[in-house]
Symmetry: C2
Subunit: 316 residues, 2 copies
């Protein structure tokens, strides 16, 4: 079958890597993006592959989005606010650039006759409770509007799947890292150290301990979502490595990778274990459900951080 | 303390009863409503009580809503799409008149300095699974966009409560019945029989079996939400009677109450147990958590249906 797959928000960090990954296996990749957050590398990807097409449409524009999905059998919805911390002072960001976009993406997909909808969710659905979390642990009590937007998004995918006979698949990512990153903790550290190599001010006390996932492992999970059989109308999977790594370890990795020596940089920690209001300091996800589908992470959290840091430094 | 309580969507069926109930205990009740669905009885209530004030503002209008909440310590948010079945063909109704209004209500409350937010949720958060449901049974897999809107709404209340130091309370109502109803299964039956007493066409096969709750019991639960101590930032309660009643039984109650004899009316049933696409045919909620707070339903489901039917017939 000649499949045409649309990626909403596909010109950002995950989307650029995903587009490159999926173009090998599908007839056409339609990247729909408003370019608000687009990766500097995305242009190269569209030029490199003839079966990748960029459509500059805002997911908030229901009519244009519906038109641009014409002929697509599947949608992968990545479009979302990328700056989680910003919502601490302006919480409607997570609604307008989160829940609202997901509602629009689903409604446009329904109207365009899309048969499969894949949603990028995250660990925020588990609230601030002890992990490792299995998929069934998600509650309706998030501690941030980012978490609320992911819960709302997942629930909308479920409702549209059951109601309108779409296949719905949700993937809850750990922290995604890899080439061409545009944000994230190590990205921030590298940029701070480029300005001043003598000191590194860390948000939080460095004990935050989270699971990271290599971006190609995320792409492989989403590809599984495109291929998964239709026996279940709706299903949910965590996408994470088994281990975790602390912010303190990441800071030391970045300093050593940049300067070959960590002793000329003073790393300063704050007193709280929250990086920002609403940050969940400890995130560990159970990945056994996706592993039972023959998916396996290619890198541990530490390996993923080390490789992404080296990649970002070489890009500077 | 002189408390000023705002009720969003307060001119509808539940709101009219709630306003009358709460005005005895609070200094001022501010009813905020766009009058799209307002009860014919609400006008009488505003005239009867000098401490009830109606403000005609749409909850979708963030700026006007923020202004109208000035000086209110608590908000009860009832504004929502009342026609659940309509979303089966136009699912964005549940988003625009559900999730979106809740996001706006919370953001306006935050900006206006409201310290307590009470949200009217429903059984849709439990999806199509076997009950009786305890509060912790809610999942992120609703089968209707109505359910998705309630899950999204609850999650937003939790996030705002934890993030912005508001007290958040969620109440999941069974089917609410009572005087001045403007919709619902027995309301529909009465209106059909007014047009043709010889036949009653029932949506579904009559085996749908749900819990009903008397509207004053809902008001008492919401009053508890206004008074509940602040030891928990966020909490959730079912509001339901213990028993259930089938649609077939309700049809027979209505016919007998209207005509004193059920044998001159032919009751016709459809073949499916869904009243409409996305209807959950069996709804039973565990009410022990709210009962542990000294709340008790004054009527069983059958008593609540019988009394509300008699009330509606006498109003015709």
């Amino acid at each position: 079958m000649q499949r045409r797959v649309a990626i909403l928000g596909g010109a950002g960090f995950i989307g650029t890597n995903l587009t490159r990954y999926l173009q090998k296996s599908f007839a056409e990749i339609v990247v729909i993006d408003n370019n608000s957050n687009s990766s500097a590398f995305f242009e190269a990807v569209t030029k490199e592959f003839t079966n990748v097409r960029l459509v500059k449409v805002d997911v908030a524009d229901l009519e244009s989005l519906t038109n641009s999905l014409s002929g697509c059998d599947s949608v992968i919805h990545l479009a979302s606010n990328a700056d989680i911390a910003a919502a601490a002072v302006n919480p409607v960001i997570d609604f307008e650039n989160g829940t609202y976009l997901t509602s629009n993406a689903l409604e446009a997909s329904r109207r365009a006759g899309v048969s499969r909808f894949i949603y990028a969710s995250g660990s925020g659905v588990y609230g601030d409770t002890e992990g490792p979390h299995s998929e069934s642990d998600a509650s309706l009590a998030p501690i941030s509007t980012y978490g609320a937007s992911k819960i709302a998004g997942e629930s909308l995918v479920a409702a549209y799947s059951y109601r309108f006979n779409m296949i719905g698949r949700v993937f809850r990512f750990a922290n995604v890292v890899g080439p061409m990153q545009t944000h994230g903790v190590s990205f921030d550290f590298i940029n701070k150290l480029k300005k001043d190599r003598t000191r590194l001010d860390v948000l939080g006390n460095g004990t935050q301990n989270k699971s990271y996932i290599w971006v190609d492992d995320v792409s492989e999970a989403l590809k599984f979502g495109l291929m998964d059989d239709q026996s279940l109308q709706f299903d949910v999977f965590n996408v994470a490595s088994e281990d975790t790594i602390t912010v303190r370890e990441i800071a030391e990795i970045v300093v050593e990778a940049m300067f070959g020596d960590r002793h000329q940089t003073k790393i300063n920690y704050a007193s709280t274990n929250e990086g920002w209001p609403g940050d969940v300091p400890y995130i560990r996800l159970n990945n056994l459900k996706l592993k039972s589908k023959n998916w396996n992470p290619s890198r541990s959290s530490r390996q993923a951080i080390e490789e992404s840091v080296n990649s970002m430094i070489s890009q500077i």
